[in-house]
């Protein structure tokens, strides 16, 4: 019983805290201008009904984590030779597999209504409109992978990463307004300028021990947003609408959407490929050494400040490129891009997927971007699919109606659960996995 005491107390606490909001209601009486409080349990019923879906999703995530714990070992140490073989195969050919999977989506997207089989299963189907969604998933994957260099591999906290994302987008927007350059030229320019901005920002604070970088980048993102909101050439809060001729245009029979998707996918693959090469090189090892023990790393001849600057500049440069792709895809750049919530979202993706693991960052980005979108579409999906609506009870369907409203609550709960039960993230690093194996 003592085992469950914290849970019971926690539950009672929730009831106590939510009591005035969920169980009571203010009742104004206009005849004598007083406000009374009445007992209104129906709100609580509604709330806990909605909350039940949170538990459904939480359970699914828990199952995923258990499965992951069973199978996601470091393949070089796996006792089962089949897992070793699959792991080695993945290491050698993941790039080609990823290219194939990502680009199979392009022809599939030609069908405006998507595939019937997938739709009847209630899975997100591939059509012209979901291609746009997938492009954004690719963008967030790019951001998560970029942030992972600094936060995951080098162990430096960055709280204003979206600042560099917006920085890249504004370079593109202002550049095409004043110097007329298209996206394929803006990409490299943003890479260099974004990296330069990261370098200059890191220069003063990376010489110091401690989490100064977190504060400085947080300030940078906020200052940049305020600056963009208040300058005349950036159009203030309204942002900049880009010229059609500089954003993604269809060619060779491809639609605009497909070109945007292909560019995002290619950028992502090339970036992940290069980051993985760095990760398995002396430079990547130096980053991890700094994360693990800075004093020892420096004593072993690693120039800690330079390596940190390199990691952070690369992160910033990747974000700037993502900003250009966003601008060219969306055709609209606004200060809302670098809101704090955005930075936290990207950070959450990295933490969920597993600090230090690029594939984990990809998974985290996909989950945190797709799940809310998917939840939003879920009620209508169930409605439209005869199979699903026949097997889903009415009360589950009702609670799904409000699910996307609760997504921040869900994120919070998932993050707390992750920190408690799987602090290394869904995938973790192979190094951390070896640790798991020895337990």
């Amino acid at each position: 019983m003592a085992r469950y005491r914290p849970y019971i107390l926690g539950l009672l606490g929730v009831f106590a805290i939510t009591f005035p909001f969920l169980w009571l209601q203010l009742a104004p009486n206009f005849s004598n201008n007083t406000v009374g409080v009445i007992w209104a349990p129906q709100h609580a019923g509604e709330f806990f009904g909605n909350l039940s879906t949170v538990f459904v999703v939480g359970f699914l995530i828990w199952v995923g984590i258990r499965l992951n714990r069973r199978f996601a070992w470091d393949h070089t140490l796996a006792r089962n030779p089949a897992i070793q073989k699959i792991g080695t195969f993945w290491d050698n050919y993941w790039g080609w597999i990823a290219v194939a999977v990502l680009f199979l989506i392009v022809p599939a997207s030609l069908r405006p209504n998507g595939s019937e089989t997938l739709r009847s299963l209630g899975l997100p189907w591939i059509n012209t409109s979901t291609l746009g969604l997938l492009t954004f998933v690719g963008l967030y994957m790019l951001l998560a992978v970029g942030l992972n260099i600094t936060v995951g591999m080098t162990g430096l906290l960055v709280l204003g990463y979206a600042g560099f994302y917006a920085f890249g987008a504004y370079i593109f927007a202002l550049g095409q307004e004043h110097f007329f350059f298209p996206w394929w030229l803006a990409g490299p320019v943003a890479f260099v300028l974004g990296g330069g901005a990261g370098y200059l920002l890191g220069l003063p604070c990376l010489r110091l021990r401690g989490d100064y970088l977190a504060i400085v980048t947080l300030g940078f993102a906020e200052a940049f947003r305020e600056l963009m909101r208040n300058l005349d050439i950036t159009g203030g809060d309204k942002g900049i609408v880009l010229h059609d001729k500089f954003i993604f245009q269809g060619f060779w029979g491809l639609t605009n959407q497909q070109v945007g998707y292909a560019v995002a996918a290619l950028t992502l693959i090339v970036t992940v490929f290069l980051i993985q090469r760095l990760y398995h090189s002396p430079i990547g090892r130096a980053w991890i050494a700094i994360r693990e023990n800075e004093v020892a790393a420096e004593a072993m001849g690693i120039p800690v400040v330079q390596m940190k600057l390199l990691a952070f500049s690369l992160s910033a440069a990747v974000a700037a490129i993502a900003g250009v792709v966003y601008g060219a895809k969306d055709g609209f750049v606004s200060p809302a891009m670098c809101e704090f919530q955005q930075s936290i979202m990207i950070l959450a993706m990295v933490i969920l997927g597993g600090l230090g693991n690029s594939y984990g960052a990809l998974l985290g980005a996909a989950l945190l971007y797709m799940v809310p979108e998917y939840l939003k579409a879920l009620p209508s999906t169930i409605q439209n699919s005869p199979t699903l609506s026949s097997i889903t009870p009415q009360f589950v369907r009702d609670s799904f109606e409000h699910l996307s409203d609760y997504r921040w609550l869900l994120f919070g709960a998932v993050m707390v659960l992750m920190m408690l039960y799987r602090p290394q993230g869904l995938l973790g690093t192979s190094r951390r996995k070896t640790e798991m194996l020895n337990r």
Partner: protein, 256 residues
């Protein structure tokens, strides 16, 4: 002939505490110099000054006649000084082999294009360095643990890994901070043998140690610090008989 390492009157204070005062030391290649003294005598502070973690307030440190006083640790390491730590500082989430690979950083080419393209030259270099790292692990007797996570090693083996990692920086001077601390008699004997073998490779070694057995067995010279002040310096026999040392530190041992 200039010695490999020469310190000229280095001092370091923390607030009012004089941790190290005017220490002079000359170390030649192929020699083992031990630094001993009671707890809090400033031995580790002295090491931190040598390896660049602290900057001494006065005095200078010369390595092969070059002044390295106040250089940051990675530059000191680049010049050929490697160290181990009293409280083990491995990279816990890396494998044993990777711990050694990290320390090769300064010998590796970091030019981006061959690295990103995995050019043939780069792959040959990578293989050669892996071989070298395995050779160092073999040298300290960790060859069969190469792929284990470094935090799964037993305590004594972790100390050996620290030595392998320090050797991988290809130092000329090795600073060992209590390498035999917490070891049983058998492991202590093995550690003495290991240090002797490292010396025979032509390295100079400065050793901080509390195990008198180790110190007396392998030291060519002993420097005794007490409250940061060098109170005796010389061969083990000389230091053993020094009345100041006996008073400060070796009392029981000398009366045996």
């Amino acid at each position: 002939m200039t010695p490999l390492l020469e310190t000229r009157g280095i001092s370091k204070t923390f607030g009012g505490l004089k941790a190290v005062q005017k220490v002079d030391l000359r170390v030649e290649a192929n020699r083992v110099v031990s630094v001993i003294g009671p707890n809090g005598a400033g031995k580790t502070t002295f090491f931190n000054c040598l390896s660049g973690i602290y900057r001494p307030e006065t005095g200078s440190i010369l390595l092969d006649g070059h002044d390295i006083t106040g250089r940051p640790p990675h530059q000191v390491c680049r010049r050929g000084v490697a160290r181990t730590f009293q409280n083990i500082r491995l990279f816990p989430e890396m494998s044993v082999l990777e711990n050694v690979l990290v320390a090769q950083f300064k010998h590796r080419s970091k030019s981006p294009l061959p690295l990103l393209a995995h050019s043939k030259k780069y792959r040959i270099q990578e293989d050669a360095h892996c071989e070298e790292a395995r050779a160092f692990l073999d040298f300290v007797g960790l060859a069969q643990h190469a792929d284990a996570p470094s935090n799964s090693l037993a305590y004594g083996l972790q100390r050996r890994l620290e030595i392998a990692r320090a050797l991988a920086t290809r130092p000329r001077l090795l600073l060992l901070d209590e390498p035999a601390a917490g070891m049983n008699p058998q492991e202590t004997v093995e550690m003495i043998q290991l240090i002797t073998r490292i010396r025979d490779r032509g390295l100079a070694i400065i050793l901080i140690e509390h195990h008198m057995k180790v110190v007396m067995a392998i030291s060519d010279e002993i420097l005794v610090l007490d409250h940061g002040i060098p109170i005796a310096h010389g061969t083990p026999e000389k230091v053993r008989k020094d009345p100041l040392v006996i008073k400060a530190y070796l009392g029981e041992e000398a009366s045996e």
